[in-house]
């Protein structure tokens, strides 16, 4: 190693020999052992570094600095907590105002209940059911549902096809919940069935193990269409519309 390389290494790795790679450090040591000029440079550099390091630390720390610093961070902490509190309080107030506004709006815009309105709604539902039944019967080749004695369509639970004496016919299921009574209304045509043995006067005929009764209700418009009603309960009237006494 020549003097230029040695001084370059000293310049870059002067103070902390450990920063130098082991092989470079060994070469530098060997050079310094035989070169008084470079050895003097190293001594100078180390002394210079020590003097600068000592001067660097010679900074008088003001009295009470620690107390002032702690006061400063305490003030900042207080400000932070206040800010946090105001933020949370503001958010809570905003939530309360928003919820209050929503509730007030809901109260203002709540639908008004009137007897006429409720009746009208129920009528509309019943009409909807009647229309649905008519559409279903038409789809299965039957006329509209027009029994001489009108059934209470509010009790209608289901419309479908059912088996009657081996033939699929449209059937309407009625349930009278309060009276615990059920009825199946088969829609029949005289081309499919002969109903002369059923009671023709609208009365019911009891029979069977489970108290089923059978009644025939005629269509009020077509003589070739009738409704065979199989039901349980006190009577066929349970499934018919209530008529106001004349």
């Amino acid at each position: 190693m020549d003097c230029n390389t040695a001084r370059m290494l000293i310049a870059f790795f002067g103070r902390q020999g450990s920063e130098l790679a082991p092989e470079d450090a060994a070469e530098l040591d060997a050079h310094l052992a035989g070169c008084p000029a470079c050895a003097a440079t190293v001594r100078f550099e180390r002394q210079f570094d020590d003097r600068v390091a000592k001067a660097m630390l010679a900074v008088p720390v003001p009295a009470n600095l620690k107390a002032r610093l702690l006061d400063g961070v305490a003030v900042q902490r207080g400000a932070w907590y206040r800010q946090k509190f105001y933020a949370v309080a503001g958010l809570a107030a905003a939530i309360v105002v928003t919820v209050g506004a929503i509730v007030a709006w809901q109260i203002q815009h709540a639908p008004e209940l009137t007897p006429a309105g409720i009746v009208s709604q129920e009528d509309a539902r019943a009409q909807d059911r009647a229309r649905f039944v008519d559409r279903y019967l038409r789809e299965h080749g039957r006329p509209d549902f027009r029994p001489e004695r009108p059934f209470d369509l509010n009790q209608l639970e289901l419309v479908g096809m059912g088996d009657l004496e081996g033939k699929d016919v449209p059937v309407l299921y009625f349930v009278n919940g309060p009276k615990n009574a059920r009825a199946k209304v088969y829609v029949v045509r005289d081309t499919d069935f002969n109903w002369k043995n059923l009671p023709q006067d609208g009365s019911s005929q009891p029979g069977g193990l489970f108290g089923h009764q059978v009644a025939l209700v005629r269509d009020r418009e077509r003589s070739g269409v009738a409704y065979v009603v199989v039901f349980t309960g006190a009577g066929l009237e349970l499934f018919l519309e209530e008529r106001s006494p004349a």
């Binding site: 001084r7 100078f44 210079f48 003001p62 002032r68 961070v73 900042q76």
Partner: protein, 177 residues
């Protein structure tokens, strides 16, 4: 919030590090009032960012980094220092004096003030904190080679200012490092 940092709070960190942080701030800024303001700002920021301190053993470099960033933020709007060009790295003296006199802290500060921040910070960390090149590089987010180069230039400047007799004994100037 970092569990260790948040449980301890900022007070123990102030107690443990305020002196070295203040001295660092003083050497960076060159004025006692600025140093105190910077130290206060650093501890306030540290308090707000305490969650990011994962390892309490790394509190000191963490605080130094916060302080330096605070200083840099101020320095961007306040470029009052007259700075010298450091394009050259002087070679070491061929025949240095045998005895090196004590360095006057005030003269040292004047010499530091003349250095651009990018050179002043590594030389302060190098002498003041006895940091390795690798630590300085990490602290300043610079390649280690850049740190070595800047340190060599900054030390040359200090030598020129503080030991003019030794500088006169130096050889040719190496440029472009």
């Amino acid at each position: 919030m970092g569990a260790a940092g948040s449980r301890r709070g900022i007070a123990p960190l102030v107690d443990e590090h305020y002196q070295s942080l203040y001295r660092y701030a003083y050497r960076l800024s060159g004025a006692a009032a600025d140093a105190e303001d910077l130290t206060q700002e650093a501890f306030c920021k540290a308090q707000a960012q305490l969650a990011t301190l994962r390892d309490p053993d790394r509190a000191k470099p963490w605080l130094f980094s916060i302080l330096r960033n605070a200083y840099l933020h101020r320095a961007r709007t306040d470029r009052a220092h007259k700075q010298v060009s450091l394009d050259a790295v002087g070679e070491l003296a061929c025949h240095p004096p045998a005895d090196v006199p004590e360095v006057d802290p005030e003269r040292l500060q004047q010499a530091l003030n003349e250095l651009p921040e990018g050179f002043r910070t590594p030389v302060i960390l190098f002498y003041f904190e006895d940091m390795s090149y690798r630590d300085i590089a990490e602290q300043m987010d610079l390649p280690i080679g850049t740190v070595m180069s800047r340190l060599a230039r900054a030390k040359t400047h200090l030598r020129d200012r503080l030991m003019p007799a030794a500088a006169q004994g130096a050889g040719e100037v190496t440029r472009g490092l």
